[in-house]
Symmetry: C2
Subunit: 481 residues, 2 copies
């Protein structure tokens, strides 16, 4: 494993102290909007100063609250337990919530129901992904079939995948119908608990809650947060600002802003439920002012990720980092280069958790089956990377050097287990050399498509017992699923 | 700039000591072949033990020799001076010596004369490349036109590019004719010196010399080395082994092997000419035993690069690192991901020099115009990365946070200079967002091709004075060039 945390390459102790100092200054002097009467009451009760829906909090309140965040916790699911936190081994989830996809014919189009199932099958058959999550929400197929379609979408994920669950695609006004957000979140937690046969004591879903910027949590987000806390489920507080647009112009200003909203939101969570697991995340990006667009696949995104990771570690809060982020809308050189650049911080820092690790591009907007499986290959490289360099067997090396000698040939005899243990063999990337004949295997896109087809054919529905089937039927049968 | 050297993430002090200890053991107990009587004489004179063409050297000899390697030096050329060494700012050169290229129609084929000129024009018009070097050698157009074609190829580079010169494509039996290697190298140095109007006192070409593995320097390489040292030109000693094939099975074994050959070769250089600049380089890769192929675009290549960089720093020798290495034969996701992964060590460690930074793929075998310009984009990102995170203006950030406030809009007013200074704007990558309409601009390949076309149109032959023109004419006119 790596010798230490790579964020220290980019973020000095002084940088950390500056970000921390101005975070406190921002929260006590500028304040943050929490657009929810219930939440304002909580802050008031704990002595925060209020001005309308704006909350001002001081260092004492924040320090006391965040001290109760646990440094590690364990997810529970059909595949047993998954420790997240100080293990220094990132747990991985795919991308999510794509309004567009790139299909088999390389067209960009809105997704259909079959695409949703195809992504679930990729998640389920993945050697790399620890988590499943909703890749696509609000399909036309779910519209018109019922009032609150959100619960059926969760049930469908439970039917098709048996991984650990994370939930970044939140219930919102468009998919909860007359049930409302809070009731929907309550029932979705009940469904998960009933399905897993557990009570509040187990963490069965990682809740990914996206804070608005600048300095704001709206009612919809806070409804989600209140219910996640009530259901005792871990929360990954994520902030995705755009420099010079929704956050200050500089990386420092954005890091201060992002750290402030993350810390304020974590404070609220701990006031609501001390000891509830929180994951600290900065997922912000530079704006490209030529087009007023977020530039996720960028060095500045990576630098902000390093800052977020450094701050989470400073507070003793588990950290999440990056993903395979790209701004391209084709799976090409840009996609590969940007995905590797933006995934690097998470692995160089051995973060605790990563999502957006497979399938996403086009500034979080476009899902791709092809990119999903190529991203898995890239994550495989990173997992090899953090196993690092092993100098524990110098005598084995020296014996080989001596036995083979100058101008000798190491190809003689059996391939030793040490080679097999150390060498990551790519599945889809060309490793056959730099010759014309390599193209006989088809393009990388064609190879990826063949691989996806094989996984579709080998996919099996996860087994469920009778009680679990009843839970699924309750939500899926009314929609004819 | 980065806080410190990223190799320490991967290579511990203990790892360094193990590699160093077994390097010395290898050089004193296993020995290394130097297949050249003149070189054997040099070692003998300095007290090394010989056994046929095998040289055994002890710690005292090595330590004394490498102590004279300078920690920095300055290249000289038509564009002034270029410091290489402890500046912590990598100087960059393109890829080299491709037997195949991918052309405008995306076909893989042997290169023709026009391809060579096109690569020179890309080098000359590059904002990124500090160096020019031979991208293609031994073209059919050079065959049959003369006896020794190597000198004309160098003259052609001088005619078409005015960057600093590096020379990884060595004279060999196939391009020196009856002139022989040593005489050709001697004359090529004379040509360079005459062209630049300098004597031995200036460093005008970085000589890239590739050591053979395992543990061997053959006569051809040593002829090159002897003449480079005689001409007082800096030498980048590079070793590109394949684990389990031409070097030991493990990364540690390969690091020991590579460090041994690099150190032994550096020792020879210093015995020949104490104080001559040397650049330490490990450019080795894992073998993929499924195909017995070198896997340049890999985590293991990156880990070996970190080891090489750490060892160079340990000895106080300037270091070279990685490049945009890939094993793909198409410019695709693999190419982008692998190029970013393998370029990362050089920038995370702020090495002194990098080559293979643009245009190469297919295990060093395939050149691509398209990849050349996309690699430049990637190097641009890395140059931004090492400028790092700047926390020096917290009051500017706080004023913005306060003035804009919660739910405010940072888009008001002029874009501040701080944003412009911090944000790298890509030229070719899509930054217009994740929408279908982005594809109206064409694919990345089409955008790259248009950009290349523009550079061809804007290219101007570098100016030469009358004396320089005479030098060029002497070598090019006989071939009708």
């Amino acid at each position: 494993m790596l010798n230490y945390d790579g964020s220290s390459l980019f973020i000095s102790q002084k940088d950390i102290e500056v970000i921390h100092e101005y975070t406190l200054k921002t929260l006590s002097e500028v304040g943050m909007i929490f657009d929810h009467p219930e939440v304002l009451e909580v802050f008031k009760k704990h002595g925060a100063r209020l001005d309308g829906n704006k909350v001002f909090m001081d260092e004492a309140l924040i320090s006391k609250a965040i001290a109760t965040v646990p440094i590690e916790f364990e997810m529970y699911g059909r595949r047993g337990g998954l420790k997240i936190g100080k293990r220094y081994d990132p747990k991985v989830g795919p991308g999510t919530d794509w309004p567009l996809i790139v299909d088999e014919e390389n067209n960009i189009r809105p997704p259909v129901f079959e695409d949703l199932l195809k992504f679930y099958k990729l998640m389920e058959t993945s050697d790399i992904m620890d988590f499943s999550q909703l890749p696509i929400t609000n399909l036309p197929e779910f519209g018109g079939k019922g009032d609150c379609t959100y619960l059926a979408q969760i049930a469908l994920m439970l039917k098709y995948t048996s991984k650990f669950y994370a939930n970044p695609a939140r219930p919102n006004q468009s998919n909860v119908g007359s049930k409302g957000i809070r009731q929907t979140v309550k029932e979705y937690h009940q469904m998960l608990k009933e399905f897993h046969g557990v009570d509040d004591d187990k963490y069965i879903v990682m809740e990914l809650l996206c804070v608005q910027s600048p300095l704001c949590n709206d009612k919809e987000m806070l409804d989600n947060l209140l219910e996640a806390a009530a259901a005792n489920q871990p929360i990954s507080v994520v902030i995705a600002s755009m420099t010079n647009t929704t956050s200050p112009s500089t990386l420092l200003g954005t890091a201060i802003h992002d750290n402030a909203v993350a810390l304020a939101t974590t404070t609220l969570i701990q006031l609501l439920r001390p000891g509830l697991p929180v994951v600290h995340t900065i997922l912000s990006s530079p704006s490209d002012m030529r087009y007023i667009q977020m530039g996720t696949g960028s060095t500045e995104n990576a630098l902000l990720a390093y800052a977020g990771i450094a701050m989470g570690r400073y507070y003793g809060i588990p950290v999440r980092g990056g993903g395979t982020l790209s701004d391209a809308v084709d799976v090409d050189y840009q996609t590969g280069a940007e995905s590797a650049m933006t995934l690097m911080p998470a692995y160089l820092c051995n973060v605790d958790y990563i999502t957006h690790c497979a399938g996403g591009m086009g500034v979080f907007n476009v899902g791709s089956f092809e990119k999903f499986v190529l991203d898995e290959e890239l994550v495989g490289y990173m997992k090899r990377m953090i196993r690092g360099f092993n100098s524990s067997e110098p005598e084995f090396a020296f014996k080989q050097l001596k036995d083979t000698g100058p101008r000798g040939n190491y190809l003689m005899g059996r391939t030793p287990k040490q080679y097999r243990k150390e060498t990551y063999l790519a599945k889809l990337f060309n490793k056959k050399g730099g010759m014309v004949s390599v193209r006989d295997d088809g393009t990388l896109r064609e190879k990826a498509c063949r691989h996806i087809q094989e996984r579709m054919e080998n996919y099996k529905l996860p087994e469920v017992d009778k009680a679990q089937q009843e839970v699924l039927d309750r939500y899926l049968k009314p929609l004819g699923l």
